[in-house]
Amino acid sequence: MTAMRNPIVIKDPAGTLTKKLRDLHERKRERMEKLRNVEVSQTVYLKV
């Protein structure tokens, strides 16, 4: 087992990845919105 807390760093000074990353985030945001209050088969109740 390893956890690479030293991240692999990709430098993007020219902004080549900016649009792709924005698209990824936008898609994730859409999926998150769709998931809100969706029906699920399993619900776990926890005492905190």
């Binding site: 990709i10 990845l17 994730k28 699920v40």
Partner: protein, 167 residues
């Protein structure tokens, strides 16, 4: 695949683990992933209700669910994109970590939870690879969790990001 977690404090979370959209990847990489029979599963965590700090047992519940899905999918690679949507109520805003962005906070928390889980459950041969992309005025973080035998695919995915996702 999803699971809802409700706390008696009124907080409600949803954990979703589902196939990631691969359109962003280079076509050759996508084909390689498919030919290897690999499923890339994206983790999405949504707070549906409440503003309470997320307690350790809630985090443990979420991590356990993700780990169960991963364990039952022998050809899966877990993918988590650290987003900046919604604030983090439990975030330390005074200490040395107060300068961390929301994305970096989530990335560190993901790494901590991964390490904690594998240590507690004596998991061997599973790796958490964190990728940080430093653009102009921002840093983005993503994680890939994979078994030993799938590290070559993780390498391919990293290379694809390096090359600008096939441009």
């Amino acid at each position: 695949m999803n699971r809802r977690v409700r706390t008696d404090g009124g907080d409600v979370y949803l954990v979703e683990v589902s196939p990631a959209e691969l359109n962003v990847l280079d076509e050759d990489v996508r084909k390689y992933v498919c030919d290897c029979g690999i499923e890339i599963l994206e983790v999405i965590l949504v707070r549906e209700q409440g503003e309470g700090a997320t307690k350790k047992n809630v985090l443990n519940e979420m991590v356990t669910y993700i780990a169960d899905v991963f364990a039952s999918h022998k050809n899966a690679i877990i993918y988590y994109l650290c987003d900046d949507m919604l604030e983090i109520p439990s975030r330390n805003k005074k200490g040395k970590n107060s300068v961390l962005s929301v994305q970096e906070y989530r990335s560190r928390l993901f790494s901590c939870m991964f390490t904690s889980y594998v240590n507690d459950h004596c998991v061997k041969g599973v790796h958490d690879t964190c990728v940080r992309i430093d653009g102009v005025g921002y840093s983005q973080f993503l994680h890939l969790v994979a078994r030993d035998e799938h590290m070559a695919i993780v390498k391919k995915l990293k290379e694809d990001v390096f090359s600008g996702f096939g441009k």
